[in-house]
Symmetry: none
Subunit: 193 residues, 4 copies
């Protein structure tokens, strides 16, 4: 990766995360870097191209943190993954903003990138659930529905952290896990026991 290309990608990510796809112009990207308009097109086919690559990178960064640990302790693995992603959000608001607030229907290609990412996360959750059931830790349930529910709960808590309406990622993940495992009803025990 060329230095210039990298430079543009970094700046573009920052700007797209603040301004969204449509309101950010190519001029703003190049002006903010002090480079010529033509230089931009030396490294990127067009505006869609930068956006796609920004999205891809961002998704990859998160995926690096999604470890497919050995499945002996599926719930622990899930906990770790959720926590590591929420931590990332706390640290890198640009990434979070892109992932959570990406406008769908911009362009089918863009949507696919996130859909694929979401799909990966979903299947990670599904696999943990299935393994848990196999091991007798997790009760029988509709995995399709529940994995989505977990995913959604997680995403929404992530947004809460991003907006500053929730405070600590650690606390949120524990609360989330506890909720997911024990449910809301009174009279349960901690799942780790």
């Amino acid at each position: 990766m060329k230095k210039r290309e990298e430079e543009i990608l970094v700046r573009a990510k920052s700007l797209f995360s603040k301004r969204g796809f449509h309101s950010l112009t190519v001029s703003e990207i190049v002006d903010s870097l002090g480079i010529a308009r033509g230089t931009f097109y030396l490294y990127f086919k067009n505006k869609d191209d930068v956006y796609r690559r920004v999205l891809e990178r961002t998704v990859q960064e998160i995926e690096k943190n999604l470890k497919v640990l050995p499945l002996e302790r599926p719930l622990e693995q899930l906990r770790r993954n959720l926590l590591s992603v929420l931590k990332l959000i706390e640290e890198d608001r640009e990434t979070a903003s892109l992932i959570f607030y990406h406008p769908y229907k911009l362009n089918l290609e863009f949507d696919e990138i996130l859909e694929e990412f979401y799909g990966k996360v979903l299947s990670l959750i599904e696999r943990a659930l299935l393994k848990g059931m196999e091991m007798g830790i997790v009760r029988e349930c509709n995995v399709k529905v529940i994995s989505r529910a977990i995913f959604g709960a997680f995403v929404e808590v992530g947004k809460g952290l991003l907006k500053g309406e929730l405070q600590s990622a650690e606390e949120a993940v524990d609360e989330l896990l506890s909720f997911g495992l024990r449910g809301l009803l009174e009279g349960r025990n901690d799942w780790r026991n």
Copy 2:
């Protein structure tokens, strides 16, 4: 409400839900109705104006279905509300699409409309949780985190229904409730008992 205005709003909702705000042009709206460009501006100040009104209406339609039932049975109330909204989604994919896939950062005013709506839903959930705790049905928990989690789970399941990746709204809601109430761990009882 004038007939024309209604006609435009209905068509605009349909088109915005399919195409998003930016890619839909005013020309497409009027062409699709076979009316003159000027006619559009007779009823709407500008493109933002239609979009705002479409969004407002859509939110209102859903809110009509969010009944603030007497809180004696908070969990039952929650169940009904979630179900009625998911049913709506099943029936009216345009509404669902607008609500779930609205691009944030389009325009602060637009975002506020949905934020306000989401806020209402969140507080509905919070109130049910708090009442449940008061009544001793729901165990102590961080209401801020858990209400978001429930909301997120619900939204994500809604999206799944919309995309056709999940089948029945009824089944999904029951599964969701059971998940939320009993959690995932083996060896729990049904909350209704």
Copy 3:
């Protein structure tokens, strides 16, 4: 003249004098009268038509005050005419505004209306000058130039009154006349003596 027609003309004059031709819309005229857009076109062919008729009327009102008195006392006649027009300006700012600040090159037809009016005023002045020369009161001069100069001086003083930068019409006319007759140089007598 129909009552409605009159009503529209009066309002249009008022609005055109404040807003100018281009920035005033037909909608504003009809809205301000509480009548339908169609009603306007019952009495006027188009927007140009009202403007033309407003201009014509306004010019006619002034012309009524421009008396072609018997020429025995040409300078006295000139004084009276100038005074009567400046008085009108003091009283009717709408008329003054239209006459003095009409944007040329709007439309040839409009320009002609004022040009014709200006032409009349000029020839009034010219005739007074010529008569004065004939009578030996006025010294030999280039009537074309001087009549324009008198006209211009008069118009500019009118604008000064309109803008409130000059105070009394009477005083201004006397000063103007004295200037025109005696000139600026020291050591002259009053022309009436």
Copy 4:
């Protein structure tokens, strides 16, 4: 100043002076130069912007010719200034057209540009008058009124030259001066003596 910018300004001045602000379109400017619509907006913020800059330039060109000579000979200075401006008008009809026939009430900002210019010319005249009085050359008079009168006379003669209704600028200025200094009444001497 970039070559293109200059090119556009020159053409715009020419077109505005012939067609006025409203009837001239941006398309006409660019078509007449054979450049793209976007090129125009590279150099000018909008249509108002070109007009404003054309007006400012034009005023500046004239102001360069308005010399604030030492005041020992105030009337001679006035004569020179009036003459130099009238000469300019003879030579540059576009400038003259813009200055004399600019439609007021287009836009407050535009009006201010000319008002400021007119104000400068007026104060130039006022200062000459006051100095003249101080030196005992000019008789006591209401300077506010008389300076306006001189200005108006001058403007109107300028218009006459522009329209071709008056012939020579030199002759007109001398006639104008003689009129202003000696007045119209018979039996006066030349002011230079």
